[in-house]
């Protein structure tokens, strides 16, 4: 296993730049997730690490070796495809031994390794089955097995759970995590599903428009998003933004919105312009009778343990996550107020979060 480092990586298809000047370091034995909406360049990045696409410029290091221009077959990595890409004309055993045959292992060695991987993934009972007769979960396990048998330098996975139904997905998520702990392999995992990313990752890189916006641990990504996009993409629902037509000065700790003063964490950075946003997650807001932003209840979503109340204000719709005991009526006049100081100010010109006592 080894660490992966990409330096100033760029990929263009004609006029379209899929990946812009990206830098990343993925540590040895780390479960690293590339997260972003479709078309954000995460799959292209992964395919460049795999050698299925060649970078337009930049370097990729696998361990200490620069592999950017090497063929996929020369890189010693394993790739799990979204559609599994199991060879349909071979049975499970042959699928698993296919990569080993190329590396010239003896028959007995191949047999041992295949059985070992099969046992680990609990597919040893279906070794002689045809691929077409397998369920989605078993296909997924075989695809993982084919990656495992080679003991490669790194595992790359392109939305491997994307085609499974919800029940299987949860199960496979757990299995993947356990497998990663068991074998401790450097893993790069691409997904657009933030829940998957949150539950699997040691670290997450959020991408949009070909750029890596933030790469950090899941809790940091969630609580201290570096940009407005990260804040809105992560979380369900995403962060609320309230546009404020005022600059932010150093040491500022209150903010006047619609005549009401709100306490904000002490700011350490001056905003570039006068159009900024005030960001706060739905669970950090509460409904109150006075001293908040005025609005009326637009909708109530019942989520079992929590309720999401959408309040229509002069600043657009604001979502509030509350206890289920809180009962409101549609069109009822309410006020919304932060319940703690997990508040982030985003610079209107750069969309980046400003440094503060909270965002340190």
């Amino acid at each position: 296993m080894s660490k992966i480092k990409i330096v100033n990586l760029q990929k263009s298809f004609g006029d379209f730049t899929a990946v812009k000047n990206s830098n990343l370091t993925i540590n040895d034995k780390e479960f690293f997730v590339l997260l972003g909406p479709s078309g954000c360049g995460k799959t292209t990045t992964l395919r460049m690490i795999a050698g299925l696409e060649l970078p337009t410029s930049g370097e990729i290091y696998l361990g200490d070796e620069e592999v950017g221009m090497l063929r996929a077959s020369e890189r010693d990595i394993a790739f799990v495809f979204q559609l599994f890409a199991l060879y349909p004309h071979m049975n499970v055993k042959n699928n698993l031994s296919f990569p080993l045959k190329m590396q010239g292992y003896s028959r007995s060695e191949i047999k041992t390794r295949v059985e070992e991987a099969a046992k680990l993934l609990r597919i040893d009972h279906i070794l002689n089955s045809n691929i077409s007769s397998l369920s989605g979960g078993d296909r997924q396990r075989v695809a993982l097995g084919r990656a495992l048998v080679r003991r490669p330098k790194a595992f790359l996975m392109d939305e491997p759970l994307g085609t499974l139904d919800a029940e299987f997905r949860e199960l496979m998520c757990l299995e993947l995590k356990k497998l990663h702990i068991d074998i401790g392999a450097t893993t790069v995992y691409v997904t657009h599903d933030q829940l998957e990313a949150m539950s699997l990752a040691d670290r997450i890189a959020v991408m949009d428009g070909g750029e890596i916006l933030q790469a950090d641990e899941p809790s940091v990504i969630y609580n201290k998003p570096a940009t407005k996009f990260v804040a809105s993409f992560i979380g369900s629902p995403g962060m609320n933004f309230i546009s404020i037509d005022q600059g932010i000065s150093n040491e500022q700790s209150t903010l006047n919105i619609e005549g009401t003063n709100f306490n904000i964490p002490k700011q350490y950075e001056i905003s570039k312009g006068k159009k900024n946003s005030f960001g706060i997650r739905p669970e950090n807001l509460s409904l109150t009778n006075e001293g908040g932003l005025k609005g009326s209840v637009f909708g109530v979503e019942y989520l079992g343990s929590r309720k999401i109340i959408t309040v229509k204000t002069n600043f657009g719709e604001i979502k509030v996550k509350t206890d289920i005991s809180k009962s409101v009526k549609i069109n009822e006049n309410v006020q919304v107020k932060p319940s703690n100081d997990n508040i982030i100010i985003f610079d209107g010109e750069t969309d980046k979060s400003l440094k503060s006592e909270f965002m340190n």
Binding site: R71, F98, P99, Q103
Partner: protein, 314 residues
């Protein structure tokens, strides 16, 4: 109203109608073929009798005549010979003839085999490589090239017979197996490329990518992963190519005489005493039919999947 069937399923009336049409069509198609097979088992006289005989005494004379050269001898000479050793000698002697040697049929037949299978293999192999390239690589002027390849089939191949004839004479390819294989491959290749490209497009490229990640080169991945999955398309293409090159008559007449002559131009020239030997011709065409029939039967499972491919993903 009958509600026991799905709305999409054809009614029993339309099923019966379809079956009737198919049966009638099959019977019409089979009449000349069964007449040909019947002729091959007639003797020379019953083959040309009028009105035609539907019921007749079967004879293997046509097949014996097909495979042998014979000469007529006087009764005294025949009497002086030792008794015939085999059933076919006996049959020939009963016509007051003796076998002078094997005919050219077997040689022509094996020429057909070599040229037919040779050009089929070449068309499918080259076609598969070209189709793969067109399907996977960014080929400059791809659409124009594909159209150009297709355009080679927009005129009947025989329209270029004269230039090909001259070219083949200059190149020394006339009346050679290689020449005929090249010619039929050229004619079949455009069909093969187009048919196979469709099949290659249907194969997800992840399979080769997986193989390449597993340590195989692109060419190895092509042979180990792509070709096995294109089997359906290859079978369908092979049948079409085989039927064309096996049945081709015009170029065979024009370009081959002795060395590489195929069966189609040879069979109609089988002459018996006093005109064409119809039972021998019937026997020749019946035997000529067999390889394509067997080839198609072996591959028919793929053929059926092949021509409906893309309609239903597996």
């Amino acid at each position: 109203m009958d509600t026991s069937r799905s709305y999409l399923e054809p009614s029993s009336f339309s099923k019966k109608l379809a079956a009737t049409i198919i049966i009638v069509y099959t019977v019409i198609t089979l009449i000349p073929i069964s007449w040909m097979v019947m002729t091959s088992f007639k003797n020379v006289n019953s083959a040309i009798s009028y009105p035609p005989e539907v019921l007749f005494e079967p004879s293997l004379e046509g097949y014996v005549n097909l495979f042998t050269n014979r000469s007529r001898q006087s009764q005294e000479y025949l009497d002086s010979l030792p008794a015939p050793e085999t059933w076919y000698e006996e049959l020939v002697r009963s016509r007051e003839m003796v076998i002078t040697g094997p005919s050219k049929f077997l040689g022509r037949y094996s020429n057909s085999m070599i040229i037919g299978f040779g050009s089929t293999f070449a068309s499918v192999f080259l076609g598969a490589l070209a189709a793969y390239a067109f399907s996977r690589f960014r080929v400059p002027l791809k659409d124009d090239l594909l159209f150009f390849i297709l355009s080679t089939r927009m005129f009947p191949p025989i329209a270029v017979a004269v230039p090909i004839f001259i070219m083949y004479r200059k190149l020394g390819l006339g009346d050679t197996h290689l020449g005929m294989i090249i010619l039929y491959t050229v004619v079949n290749l455009s069909l093969a490329v187009w048919l196979l490209k469709g099949f290659m497009d249907e194969i997800p490229k992840e399979y080769e990518e997986a193989a390449m990640i597993d340590g195989y080169s692109r060419l190895q991945a092509f042979f180990k992963v792509v070709l096995p999955q294109a089997m359906t398309g290859i079978a369908a293409t092979a049948i079409f190519c085989m039927i064309f090159s096996w049945n081709e008559y015009a170029f065979a007449v024009l370009l081959t005489q002795f060395n590489a002559q195929t069966a189609p131009p040879f069979i109609p020239t089988i002459i018996g005493e006093g005109g064409l030997d119809w039972p021998a011709i019937g026997a020749g065409t019946t035997l000529f039919l067999l390889p394509v029939m067997i080839f198609t039967i072996i591959l028919r499972k793929h053929l059926l999947r092949g021509i409906t491919f893309g309609a239903v993903r597996k």
